[in-house]
Structure formats: C-alpha cells, structure tokens
Amino acid sequence: MLSAVLEQTVNGLMAGSVYVLVALGMVLIYGVMHVLNFAHGVLLMVGAYVCHFFFTRVTESYVLAILLSVIVLAILGIALERAVFRPLHGNLRNQVIASLGLILVFEHLVIAVWGPNALQMKVPATAALVPIGELRFPLQHLLVIGVTLAVVLALFFFLKVSKFGTAIRATSQDRMAAMVVGIPVERIDWMTFGLGTALAALGGALIGPLFLVFPQMGDAPMVKGLAGILLGGMGSVPGAVIGGFIIGIAESVSTLFLPTDYRDSVAFTVMILILLAWPRGLFGVRVRGED
C-alpha cells in the first residue's frame, strides 16, 4: 500500500508539473494583462507538435528540439498578443470568446496538417528506468519533475531580482501606477505573453514522449492548470505552483480508491469545494477589476 501511494505520488508530481507549467503561464498573463487565455492548452499542444517536428526532421537532439519549440511558441504568443488580445484589452468576455476561437483554429489546423492520429516521440529517457526504493520510474518522469522545479525556481528568482521581473510584478499590482513610474506596460504585455506560451511549449515538449503527441493533448492540462490557479488563488504565482501540484497529486492518489475514469472529476471537485470554502483560493490575492 505504501509503495502504491509513493508510486501515485510520483505520478501525481509528474502530472502536476505539467499543470504547474501551464498554470504559471496563465497566471503571469492574467496578472499583467487581466486576460484569461483558454487557448493556453492548445498552445501547449502546438508546442509538442513543433518539438516533434524538430526532433524527427531537423535535429537528433531532444534538448535542442525543446529549445526550438519554446522559441517558436514564444514568437507565436507574441503575435497572438499583438493581433488578438491587445485590441480586446479590458473586455474580459470578448477576450475569453476570442480565445475559444483560437482553440478551434489551432486544434483543427494541427489536425489538417498532421492528421488526427497520435504521433510517437521516441526519446531515450522514456526507456531508461531509475530505481527509487523498490519502485522503478522512467527517467522521463523524473526529468519532467526536475525541469519543472528548476524552471519554477528560476522564475521566482527572475521575478524577484531582475528588472523585467520586477516590472512584471509592478504591472500586475497596479497597471496605472506602473505606467506612471515609466514602465513600458505594453512591452511588458507582449513579453509576458511570450514567456507564458514558452512555458506551455516546454510543458508540451516534456509530456509528448510520455503520452504521445495528439490534437487534444492540451485540453486536460489547460483545465487542470486553471483549476490549479483557482485553487492557489487567482493572480498568485506561488499559489499556481502549489495549486498545480495539489491537483496533480490529488487526482493520481484518488486512482487508488476510485475508478481511473473519474480522475478528472476528482480534480474539479477538489477545486470547487476549496473555492466554496475559500473563494479567493489558498493564497488569494485581491486583483483589480474583480467583484
């Protein structure tokens, strides 16, 4: 039983890592621009396809393919901010609906180009097993968790220390005041959007080898990432990290007691119950424009 719990906890940390990468991107974008981009999940999926493309056609190196995919998606994110989200600034409802349109565009564009079937991505780290106690995990699992933790730490450091990071935090806290002290908020907008989609691409590139690359692969991470954000508290970066991991671990451990089919429902039930008890989430920040 104990080893089963341990196994599911590691699985949960792995799934949670992906939710954290998605949640971080969404929460940064939400903080700065007050945009909730429901297309974030399909951008993760596009990131996985781009990584797959580079890995199978261009380079033998998985790491290089991830980097290229992250760069391509950052550029795509910046383009989307320019073309779609900036003109709709301040209108949450229209932004959300436009992002639903982007879901249709990207999901079906990918189906039109690559077909509806799942693609395989054979990375050496999926085959290598690492023993922990009496259990053995694929190296890729631990790689996903390790890379995510490293990214989270780097991001915290970046937000606290660097000038750009400080500007992001300032813009999130009070856009008008940030403008007054001379922060170029529009530049912060597109840079944050690019950073967010880059994180999504990283998530897609990391889980691609584990769960195949297919057009709907971003749906669950997007919804769970959202659940993580709400759980952690809308607008809180540490909250998004903790929320994402809670969702991942809760749904994985629940498979020990409940049929696997209801794993998603467990994640949502946890989210809704916590929200009913603490409407601002666990680390809720009061964000302008709400209630």
Binding site: R93, L100, L230, I272, E290
Partner: protein, 312 residues
C-alpha cells in the same frame, strides 16, 4: 410592422419547404440540423446574450436531458412525449442545482466552474456504462410515436417536429425578453450592483435563467438524439459547448434572431462550401476571433446596422 410580415413570410417558407424541396432530402437534413443546433443556442443566448453569463458547459445540460429521455424510453419503455417532458425537466433541474453553485462565482471564476461541471457531466455520460452505455453511445432511441395519425419517421415529418420545437424555443425567448423578468436580466448584465440596489434578488433571477436556459438545451438534446437514434457523449462534449458559444456569438448575442443566424451559418455554410471538416472549424475559429475584434454584436448586429443604413 415589416418585421412581422418578414417573420410570417419566413415561417410560411419554412413550413412549405418540404413541398418545394421534395427531391432534396439532403437540404431537409441540413435544415433539421440547423433547428437542432439553434435550440440549445437559444437557451445559451438567454444566459450569455441577455444576462451576460458565459457558460462553457452548456451542452452538458442538453446531454442530461437527452440521456434522461433515452433511459426512460429504452429502459423504462416510456412514450416519447412523456420522456421529452422528463428530459426537459431533468435538464432544468440540473441547471437549477448546478447553476446555484456556479453562480456563487463571478466572471472568469464562473466560466471555469461551468467548464468544470460540463466536463464532469460529460465524464458521467462517458463512463457510467450501466446507465448511459458509456463511450460507445446509447443505441436504439426511437423516433417519436405517431401523434393523431402523423408519424415522425419520415424526414419531412421529423422536420416539422424540429421546426415546431425551434419555434417554441424562439417563442419562449421572445416572451422572456419582452417580460419584466427579461428586463431584469438585461439590467443585471448591465450593472448588477445597481440592480441589486433597486431591490433585485440577483441570485434568484440568475439561477432561474440558468435553469430555463438548461431546460431549453435539454429540449434540443432530446430531439437531437431522437433524430440520430443514438446518444453519444461526444454530442455533449466541451467542444460542442464551445460550438454553442460560437453559434450564439456569430449569430449575435443578445438578439432574438441571433441563434437562428448562427446555427444557419454553423451548419449550413460548411455544407454549402463543402470544405473538409477540419478546415471548417479553422474557418469558424478565425470567424469567431474576427467577430470579437470587429463586430462584437455578431451577424444580427451587422444586419441591423446595414438595415439602419438602408433606411437612412
């Protein structure tokens, strides 16, 4: 007045359509699908367009109605009309119960919670094999029993049923919008605090419209599975809920004719253009983004604008 004459002409044309297009069963098929997509869109239009509640799980409530009716008809051997009524009531009750929870949240919190409930209901339809027959779908759903010698098996006859149901949905929408109730809903969309200061119980009104919108979705759901003769979870998935939003927005949120225009474009245009399925949704996605950017009032808004220009 011209609006009423136009409406009467439109209804007459729709009524006579099976006679005009006698050799075109395919066109009839497309029109039936338009009706079946327009009905849930009417429910969503009342919520999204008039009240400002962006629900991202709308089609799941159509699924509640459809599966309730399916179980009653196939397992309990209940007649179609009673099952239809039960399906509509079940969808409305689910809407009232789940809406009461969702409506404790606002703006994007509301959207995400409706999305979560939509996915949970979908998961039940997809996985509760004993009752819903699971992912393979629920086969053997009958067409309605004959009513006074009028059978619903043949395509033109089912068309009249779908048309009547759609007309009922639009009539309900019209009655709601012009009523005191409807004016309160619009007031809630425009300024909820002000409405509350005037003594409106916002929660009660919003729950009521969530329930009514879901019940209308249930009507569409029951007819949809009766037309296809099989209920499949995919008909009520997140993707379909997004399509419902698309239909309402493209047609024109908060306009009486919006859902009809939206459904006509959504179902009719790709059939006419004969584009492959994946490109069709790419086109619709781009259309949705463009409408948000340049014509937030949708096709109905564009039409009204053009009409005002013509008259000026």
């Amino acid at each position: 007045m011209p609006a009423r004459i136009a409406l009467a002409l439109l209804l007459a044309a729709l009524f006579l359509f099976p006679f005009i297009a006698e050799k075109q069963p395919y066109l009839l098929h497309v029109l039936i699908l338009c009706c079946l997509y327009a009905i849930p869109a009417v429910g969503l239009n009342l919520m999204l367009g008039y009240t400002g509640l962006v629900s991202l799980g709308h089609m799941a409530f159509a699924g509640v109605g459809a599966y309730t009716a399916a179980v009653l008809m196939v397992d309990a051997r209940l007649g179609f009309w009673l099952a239809l009524l039960a399906g509509v009531l079940a969808a409305g009750a689910a809407g009232a119960a789940i809406g009461a929870i969702c409506l404790r949240f606002r703006t994007h919190f509301f959207m995400i919670v409706t999305l979560a409930f939509g996915l949970m209901l979908y998961s039940v339809m997809n996985n509760w094999d004993e009752v819903t027959r699971g992912a393979a779908g629920f086969p053997g759903i009958p067409r309605p029993a004959p009513l006074g010698g009028f059978t619903f098996g043949p395509l033109p006859n089912f068309y009249y049923l779908a048309l009547a149901a759609a007309a009922t949905a639009f009539a309900v929408q019209w009655l709601v919008v012009r009523s005191e109730f409807g004016r309160v809903l619009v007031a809630l969309r425009q300024d909820e605090r002000l409405a509350q200061a005037k003594g409106v119980n916002a929660m009660l009104y919003k729950t009521a419209i969530f329930a009514l919108g879901s019940a209308i979705a249930g009507l569409g759901g029951v007819l949809h599975v009766s037309f296809l003769r099989v209920a499949a979870p995919a008909t009520f998935s997140l993707a379909e809920s997004i399509n419902a939003v698309l239909i309402v927005i493209v047609g024109g949120a908060g306009s009486l004719a919006g859902p009809a225009l939206g459904a006509l474009v959504f179902v009719g245009l790709p059939e006419y253009l004969r584009v492959a399925a994946e490109w069709r949704l790419v086109v619709f996605g781009i259309l949705l983004v463009l409408i948000m950017l340049f014509a937030p009032r949708g096709l109905a808004g564009l039409a009204a604008h053009a009409w005002a220009r013509v008259r000026a």
